[in-house]
Subunit: 388 residues, 2 copies
């Protein structure tokens, strides 16, 4: 272990899957335990001597640990390429950046697709239903493994932001600053409803086979594709769909009076569905949407959002987007209001951007500037660089 | 024919299926023709001697001719019970009210479920793809058959409103007043996107069998149910989902950490899906959503909404709902603006109601008052009652 630690402090970028919880099982919200469990993660930059410059990046529903660099599964660029890297807002010349695949997902961390050590075959639906809290518990174990006492920052958008809030609320001594973006403190009825449509689409696919499709040649691609299509609409604003596609026809001059993709928006959505199934596991989609639906950070505090953040030492930088109708600015404002009520340090910006929820994944200079400004100020104030 | 005419003028309520277009085929937007075709309709009230008191009620996507009274298919009350009837805003003591099942639907009018006279078996996907214009063409034939030169009014919500606008734009001498509610003048990219999700859910169901499921015992109920669930979310506002369900659990005290319907909103949505498949045909769902997606009333007027209504003699009463995010007030305002630009007579009300798009089907006293006021004023001005 010691030599591995030294190793990765020298290496600029590496991918790793670590097996944890062999001695101390991971106790889940459901009461079940995982032992052992795997966490797949990637790191960039160098951990300083004080181990005080680590930033944990939390991914969204269908994200993974490949926030930066080439994703070996898709062959495409990572999902936050303009945010993380040398000289970028999350500057890997200064910070040691960690991104781990969440529990229940399908890029190497324990989830329904992975082998159940108890049976030697894939978990499928035998994998325990997990929560955002459980995802964070696994991350805490990873941070322990990396011998980091306190993270300089935790950052994430959407479901990543939920993890950030959970870190700040439940592990307040282990995180200095928190940056939740385009996120919410609890899943609303409408949020749950959209996820339930996706789950029903997957479960309606006969190839799903009660989650045991790994025993067959077939995969529930049709259902997963429909789930992705429905969800994708919620990631874009009405306005961006209109300005991007409007009623434009797809490679044709006239309506065809059939059920082909006459409109560009249909073709685009179908592509979103079809391309998704190659990179994502249907059961993981069920588990992670469930975790998000179960998310209500106030639940363990008798429904009081103020109580969640009582006496928090964490400094917050919160961002929302004007056109996000999935997790609206209103929801971020409720978090800000609760933080103000307990006298927490919080800065909040609603960013004017018309691309909808997915704005946090796009090229958004204002967001980049806010993040680098916040991190720099915190570092100067006595954060990551204080002992350097 | 003559005796039937006399008959139904005496009868308060009747259901009828009429076969039309035997001599003169119905020419469709696609260029195809239907001959003969059936129109299933229902009437209430009595046609006056001048045949000037007829009101055509146009139904929405999954509606039917049973706007009032018991629906023989579902056994439930019609869909506009508080609007149409003796002493109600659309007063059947004064008006002769007609409601016909749209072409392509599944309550008796020609559609994919009905027998193709050319083959003696159900049309399935051999039924031609139809448009809102085609639905209205069939209604015009029905009105001809009923020997009504001019309708006193055409009224409808959602897709019903699209038909109303098409009547007013393309048959302007045959309609005196037009009342489109919670509607739009063209389907947006987001509207198309949601419909495409529904269609893909149906087509992904192996029981769909390329639309030839009538040859089998099975039905694409799973796919149709998912389609309905996705659509249903768009019919409600975020706020009404929150106030109705919030994060309330369904008949349980705690989360079950499984994939059952833990939340009331999940249970409600599943019920919406399951109960829909018994009353609606999956192919009809494909055809009617397609007709709505194809809808852009400005398309035949070189994209000019103003040109659509040039020199219109029709008087308009337009309503929208504050919380409708499917067909927003903005879209109604665009129609109003175009009507104002051509000096048309139009009254417009945005009704404060938090129930979302489906508000037009709910108990909405303000809507009822506006409709009765508008109709009464028009009747007094020299409309339906002028020769009585």
């Amino acid at each position: 272990m010691a030599e591995r630690q030294e190793d990765f402090e020298q290496i600029d970028s590496f991918a790793e899957v670590v097996t944890l919880g062999e001695d101390e099982p991971l106790r889940l919200s459901s009461g079940e335990t995982l032992s052992p469990f795997k966490v797949a993660y990637k790191c960039w930059g160098t951990l300083n001597e004080q181990r005080s410059n680590a930033i944990l990046v939390c991914h969204a529903l269908t994200g993974d640990q490949y926030a930066r660099g080439k994703n070996p599964i898709t062959g495409r660029e990572g999902w936050w390429p303009k945010l993380i890297g040398p000289g970028l807002p999350i500057d890997t010349n200064k910070y040691f950046v960690i991104c781990s695949n969440v529990l229940g997902s399908c890029s190497g961390s324990s989830g329904p697709k992975e082998i159940n050590p108890a049976t030697g075959e894939p978990y499928g639906l035998d994998f325990p239903v997990i929560t955002i809290a459980d995802m964070v518990s696994a991350q805490v174990r990873l941070i322990d493994h990396l011998k980091i006492d306190q993270l300089f920052s935790v950052i994430g958008g959407s479901m990543g932001g939920m993890q950030v809030l959970h870190w700040a609320a439940n592990h307040k001594t282990r995180v200095k600053t928190a940056i939740p973006i385009a996120s919410t403190w609890r899943h609303s009825a409408q949020n749950i409803a959209f996820h339930e449509v996706g789950r029903q689409a997957i479960m309606a696919d006969p190839n799903w086979c009660d989650g045991r499709y790994f025993e067959t040649e077939a995969r529930p691609h049709a259902g997963l594709s429909v789930a992705r299509m429905a969800a994708h609409i919620t990631y874009m604003s009405e306005r961006s769909l209109t300005s991007k596609f409007g009623r434009n026809l797809q490679d044709r001059e006239k309506l065809t009076f059939g059920f082909d993709a006459d409109f560009q928006v249909e073709s685009y959505l179908r592509y979103q569905g079809i391309s998704f199934v190659d990179r994502f596991d249907a059961n993981s989609y069920l588990y992670i949407t469930r975790a998000m639906d179960y998310y209500d950070i106030s639940a363990e505090f008798e429904g009081s959002l103020t109580a969640v953040f009582e006496n928090t030492p964490v400094k917050f930088c919160i961002m929302s987007f004007t056109s996000d109708w999935l997790y609206t600015t209103q929801e971020s404002r409720e978090i800000v209001r609760a933080l103000n009520a307990v006298g927490a340090q919080v800065s909040f910006v609603e960013i004017e951007m018309d691309k909808g929820h997915d704005s946090f994944l796009l090229d958004c200079p204002e967001m980049f500037n806010i993040i680098s400004g916040f991190l720099e100020a915190e570092a100067a104030f006595g954060g990551a660089d204080e002992h350097e």
